[in-house]
Symmetry: C2
Subunit: 220 residues, 2 copies
């Protein structure tokens, strides 16, 4: 009859990681609603009590999960935070960065959206490393001659990130297999680059809008 469930070997750091990883997967699968301590602990094969030992409350767990996601994302998109300082703005390969971000978003659905939501709602988004880096590099880029003048880096960050994190919702729902999925990823990166280069409206066809833009501009 035996069969007592084996007691987990004592390794707090690893346990914490296990729990966060489980929370992350659950987040990607069912969204925020699906992240209950019961479900997370079960998926991580950890006792609920143990989970509470590591994270005081559900809120704290979610908060920690978001940070964990942010870090994962940072590495996937910008590489190792340690070696970051050395690179130059001019050297940043916009096109490759977009590729990596789209890739990550597609592989980790849901969590990017949840992360963005939390970060934007927080009193100071730049507390978050990924946001700081993303928005910051966009701002630096905007100040170079490589960029069109008049870019609002904050708004552009929101637009870019919102788009890249929402597209997988559509893509994953409409792609039957891996192949179609990467095709849809390609479609997205193509379009975002095309948009960045050429916009959507033929400038000479819209003198009124152009005028409105320059007027808004004067107000700033």
């Amino acid at each position: 009859m035996e069969a007592r469930t084996r007691r987990r070997v004592r390794d707090p750091a690893a346990t914490r990681e296990t729990i966060l990883d489980a929370a992350c997967n659950l987040l990607a699968k069912d969204g925020l609603e699906g992240v209950s301590l019961s479900a997370v602990a079960h998926l991580a094969s950890v006792n609920r009590g143990t989970a509470y030992q590591h994270f005081e409350t559900r809120e704290k767990l979610i908060e920690a999960t978001i940070e964990w996601v942010s870090d994962k994302m940072f590495r996937a998109v910008f590489g190792d935070p340690a070696t970051l300082g050395e690179r130059r703005v001019e050297e940043v390969d916009v096109s490759a960065l977009t590729d990596r971000l789209s890739e990550f978003a597609m592989e980790n659905p849901e969590i990017g959206r949840v992360w963005l939501q939390q970060v934007l709602a927080s009193p100071d988004p730049s507390q978050d490393a990924f946001w700081r880096e993303y928005c910051g590099s966009l701002r630096r880029f905007a100040s170079t001659s490589l960029a069109v003048p008049g870019i609002d880096a904050e708004v552009m960050s929101v637009i870019n990130l919102a788009g890249v994190f929402f597209w997988p919702v559509f893509a994953r729902a409409h792609a039957a297999d891996e192949g179609e999925r990467s095709e849809l990823t390609r479609r997205y990166t193509h379009e975002i680059l095309r948009l960045s280069m050429y916009g959507t409206m033929s400038a000479k066809a819209f003198p009124d809008v152009a005028e409105r833009l320059s007027k808004d501009f004067a107000k700033d």
Copy 2:
């Protein structure tokens, strides 16, 4: 002592509306997580049993709420569906449409995001009237000479809608009063128009990206 709670006068249609309206408000306040039948019924001052009479299950209620939101949004952005057919593509005022959409998104936070999420995840987004109209008009616009060539209407719809529905998360968290909020709305509409007209990257500074774009293009 008396004080029996008055029984609601019999008016199923109005009751249904009341419930949906409550659900909608709750959605805007607390997101999907906040929409429990208990909370909705309470807010609507309706017995929970009554709510179940109108909506078989929580899922059904949420589904109905999303449709209701879609309809509200449609009217706010495109006007009355009945008088829609008459207008021409060329007559559509892009700039005014953007204004109305941003306005709506700011006034009704959360629900637009949830709506977009549901619609994109559904097997056939064009079942939804708002999506059909938005994406369709973008497609029609793309085929005119007013537009830059090569636009992917579906991707652009996602980018635009994701952006406009996410911006309020940032804006509402960082605006102290009504005035700051409308200023932030203005910032958004300005930037999205600017982006549509001029993009972000100086085309001549990025011959490699331009080449990649034309290559991708050839593959299609």
